[in-house]
C-alpha cells in the first residue's frame, strides 16, 4: 500500500531521518514508536508530502489522510459545523456522522468552537474528522494524547472498527502500552533511523526478550 525507500529528510541542514526503508501493508495497524525527538512526526509529515525529501522516494497507490498532533484548525468554527463540512466533503451519510458523534461522545461539544475545546475534546473532534474522510490510509499522530483512559479505550475501539472496515492505519503512539494493545506491527525509530520493525513476536525474537513492548523497546 505504501513503500518508503531510502527515505531521508533534512531540516535546517540537519539530518532528521536517514535512509528509512519500510512498507505498509493493506489493512494493517502499524505502530510508529520511538523516544522524543526520534523523528516520528517528521516521518508522518514526510509520508503525507508535507516535507521535502532529501533523498529516497515514497510510493503509495492510495490516498492518505494525515492527522497532525497539537493542531486547532478552523478555530472559530463549531464542532458540529466542521463535522457536517467533512461529512459533505466525503459524501458520508448523516447517520455515519451521528454515529461517530455518539461513539466519540461529542454531543455535548457540537455547538462549541474548536478554540473553546479542552485538549481531549479537541483530539476526539479531530479524530472524528479523520474518520469522516474516505482515505484508505490514515496517518494519526498521537491519537490518544489528552484522552482519559475511558476515552482512549473508546478511541482504540473505533480505530479497530476503522481497520475492520478496510482501512490501513499508521499510528504514532508515545504510550507503549496503548501501542502494544492496538498495533499489529511496529516501526521503532531512534535518532532518525529505523532500528527495528516487525510484530511483537518478531521484535522479541530480535531482541531476545520475552516481555512486553516496553522491554523490547528498551532492549532495542
Amino acid at each position: 500500500m505504501l513503500e518508503a525507500r531510502n527515505l531521508s529528510v533534512r531540516l535546517g541542514g540537519q539530518p532528521i531521518l536517514q535512509g528509512l526503508n519500510f512498507e505498509i501493508q493493506k489493512g494493517e495497524r502499524l505502530g510508529l514508536i520511538g523516544p522524543n525527538g526520534a523523528g516520528k512526526t517528521t516521518l508522518l509529515e514526510a509520508l503525507a508530502g508535507l516535507l521535502p525529501l532529501a533523498e529516497g522516494r515514497i510510493e503509495h497507490r492510495v490516498q492518505l489522510f494525515y492527522l497532525p498532533d497539537g493542531i486547532t484548525p478552523w478555530a472559530d468554527l463549531r464542532v458540529g459545523e466542521l463535522m457536517t463540512t467533512f461529512q459533505r466533503l466525503h459524501h458520508r451519510e448523516v447517520g455515519e456522522r451521528k454515529r461517530l458523534t455518539s461513539d466519540l461522545d461529542l454531543e455535548p461539544v457540537q455547538g462549541k468552537r474548536m478554540r473553546e475545546l479542552s485538549k481531549g475534546n479537541r483530539k476526539r473532534a479531530l479524530l472524528a474528522l479523520a474518520f469522516l474522510t474516505r482515505a484508505p490510509l490514515l496517518l494519526l499522530d498521537e491519537p490518544f494524547d489528552g484522552l482519559d483512559i475511558h476515552q482512549a479505550r473508546r478511541a482504540m475501539d473505533l480505530i479497530q472498527a476503522q481497520q475492520a472496515s478496510g482501512r490501513t492505519l499508521l499510528l504514532s503512539i508515545h504510550e507503549l502500552r496503548q501501542a502494544e494493545g492496538l498495533c499489529e506491527r511496529f516501526l521503532i525509530l531512534v535518532a532518525g533511523r529505523l532500528v527495528a520493525s516487525g510484530t511483537l513476536g518478531e521484535l522479541r525474537a530480535h531482541t531476545g526478550t520475552t516481555d512486553g513492548l516496553e522491554e523490547v523497546f528498551l532492549a532495542v
Binding site: Y66, P73, D76, E81, L89, G111
Partner: protein, 443 residues
C-alpha cells in the same frame, strides 16, 4: 463540484467569523464619512462663488472634488489594513494546522489560494460599497456623477485592492509568521508610497522607478484615464503573485523548486511590465474630455494615413516635457494611428542648475513621409496646425464645442454623518454579532 462548494462555504465562514472584516468596515465607514463631509464642505465653498459666475462653475467637477477624495479613504484602507485581513486568512491556516488537513484532503495549494483570493476579492467589493454609498448619497443630495469616470475610479480601486490582496497572500505564504508576512507586504505597499513621493519630489533614479509604484498605477484612473497597459499588468501581477503564493504555501515543495518558480514569476511580471510600458493607449473617461482633443480634431488626426514621428529633445525632468507629454503627446497617441515618439536627450543635458548648453535642446521635430518641421512649443494651438500642414491633413472646421457646464452645488451641513458614523458601523456590528452566535444545526 460538491467538494468545491463545501470548501467555499468553509472559507467564507472562516472569513466571516474573524474580527478583521468588522474592524475594517468600521474604520472605512468613519474614514469615508469624514472625507466625504470634508470634500462636500470644500466643494460647497467653491460652489458659492461659482453660482455667481458661470466661468468659475466650469472648474467645479464633482469627480475631482467629491468622488476622488472620498475613494481616497478606500486607498488608505487597502494600503494599510486590507493586507492584514488577507494575511490573517492565509496565516491562520498555516498556524492552526488547517492547511495540513486541507492538503491531506487533496486540495491543491493553487485552489486553496484561489479560494482565499476570491473570498477576499468579494469582501473587498463589498467594502467598496461604503465609498459607493457616498456617491449615491451625493446624487441623492442633488449632486452629479459621471458614470464612465466613476466606473473607472471604482475599477481602479477595486483592482488596486486585488493587487494588494494577491501580494498579501504571497507574503502570507512566504513569511513563516503573520508578523513577517505583514512586514513583507507593508514593504511593498509603503515602499510604493515612498517611491511615489520620492519620484514626485526627488527626480533622478527615484523618478525612474516611480512608475513601478502601485500608487502610481492608480493615479491615471483617479485622473479619469483608463490605460490599456493597466488591463494587462494588473491581472498579470495578480496571477503571478497567486501562483507564487501557491508554490510557497506547500510545505512539501523543495526550496530550490520554489526559488526557480519565483525567479520565473518575477521574470514574467517584468516582461509584461516592459511590454505594457510600450502600450500608450488609454481611454479618456472624463466628462469634460480633459485628456482629449475636441472631437473634430480627433477625427482629422485619426485620418492621418502614414507614420508620424515626433522627436523630443527634452529631459524627462523638464517641465516642458511634462506639458508636452500630458497636453499633446498622450492625446495624439490615443488618436493618431501610426505615431512614434522618441526622446533623444540624455539626462545630463538638463541639470538642476539650468538648461543645457546644447543649442538644439528643447526642439521638438515632427517627421512625416520624408518631410520634417520643428517647433519648441508645447501648445496645441501651435502644434496641431504644424501637424496638419506636415501631413497634408485638412484642418477640421471649427465646430461649436459643447462647453463643460460644471456642477456647482452648495450644501449647508455635512451630509450622511449618521449613515457613516452610526448606521454602517451598527450594521457591521450586527452582522458580526450574528456570525458569532450563528450556530448551524447539523442536518
Amino acid at each position: 463540484m460538491r467538494f468545491d462548494v463545501t470548501l467555499w462555504r468553509l472559507e467564507l465562514r472562516q472569513f466571516l467569523t474573524g474580527r478583521a472584516w468588522f474592524g475594517l468596515t468600521l474604520i472605512l465607514s468613519v474614514l469615508v464619512g469624514s472625507t466625504f463631509a470634508q470634500a462636500v464642505g470644500i466643494f460647497s465653498e467653491g460652489s458659492r462663488s461659482a453660482l455667481a459666475s458661470p466661468d468659475l462653475a466650469q472648474g467645479l467637477n464633482p469627480y475631482d472634488g467629491i468622488l476622488v477624495p472620498t475613494f481616497g479613504s478606500a486607498y488608505l484602507v487597502a494600503t494599510l489594513l486590507l493586507p492584514f485581513v488577507a494575511i490573517r486568512q492565509i496565516g491562520q491556516d498555516r498556524e492552526s494546522g488547517a492547511l495540513k488537513l486541507l492538503l491531506g484532503l487533496g486540495c491543491s495549494p493553487l485552489r486553496i489560494v484561489l479560494r482565499k483570493f476570491l473570498v477576499l476579492a468579494l469582501a473587498w467589493a463589498v467594502f467598496l460599497l461604503v465609498p459607493l454609498s457616498a456617491a449615491l448619497l451625493w446624487m441623492r443630495l442633488g449632486g452629479h456623477v459621471h458614470g464612465p469616470a466613476f466606473a473607472g475610479l471604482f475599477l481602479g480601486h477595486f483592482c488596486y485592492g486585488l493587487v494588494v490582496i494577491a501580494l498579501a497572500l504571497l507574503a502570507g505564504s512566504l513569511g513563516r509568521s503573520a508578523a513577517t508576512a505583514s512586514l513583507l507586504v507593508l514593504a511593498a505597499t509603503l515602499g510604493s508610497w515612498v517611491l511615489d513621493f520620492g519620484g514626485a519630489a526627488g527626480g533622478g533614479w527615484l523618478s525612474r522607478l516611480a512608475p513601478l509604484s502601485l500608487t502610481q498605477a492608480l493615479r491615471p484612473l483617479e485622473r479619469g484615464l483608463l490605460p490599456l497597459g493597466h488591463l494587462l499588468t494588473w491581472p498579470a501581477l495578480v496571477m503571478v503573485a497567486l501562483a507564487l503564493a501557491a508554490c510557497w504555501l506547500h510545505p512539501g515543495r523543495p526550496i530550490v523548486r520554489k526559488g526557480i518558480s519565483s525567479l520565473a514569476g518575477v521574470a514574467l511580471v517584468l516582461l509584461v511590465f516592459l511590454g505594457a510600458a510600450r502600450i500608450q493607449h488609454s481611454w479618456d473617461l472624463t466628462e469634460d474630455r480633459r485628456h482629449s482633443f475636441p472631437i473634430a480634431v480627433e477625427r482629422a488626426l485619426a485620418g492621418i494615413p502614414g507614420h508620424l514621428e515626433i522627436e523630443v529633445r527634452l529631459d524627462a525632468e523638464d517641465p516642458r516635457w511634462m506639458d508636452l507629454d500630458r497636453g499633446i503627446l498622450h492625446r495624439l497617441q490615443r488618436v493618431v494611428p501610426h505615431l512614434r515618439v522618441v526622446r533623444t536627450i540624455a539626462t545630463a543635458a538638463f541639470g538642476r542648475t539650468g538648461p543645457s548648453s546644447d543649442d538644439r535642446y528643447g526642439e521638438v521635430i515632427y517627421r512625416y513621409q520624408g518631410r520634417e518641421d520643428m517647433s519648441r512649443s508645447t501648445s496645441s494651438e501651435e502644434i496641431l496646425p504644424l501637424i496638419y500642414t506636415l501631413t497634408e491633413t485638412p484642418p477640421p472646421a471649427e465646430g461649436p464645442e459643447i462647453a463643460y457646464p460644471g456642477y456647482p452645488r452648495v450644501l449647508a451641513s455635512p451630509p450622511g454623518m449618521l449613515w457613516f458614523r452610526l448606521f454602517l458601523p451598527l450594521l457591521a456590528l450586527a452582522l458580526w454579532a450574528w456570525q458569532r452566535i450563528y450556530n448551524p444545526k447539523p442536518i
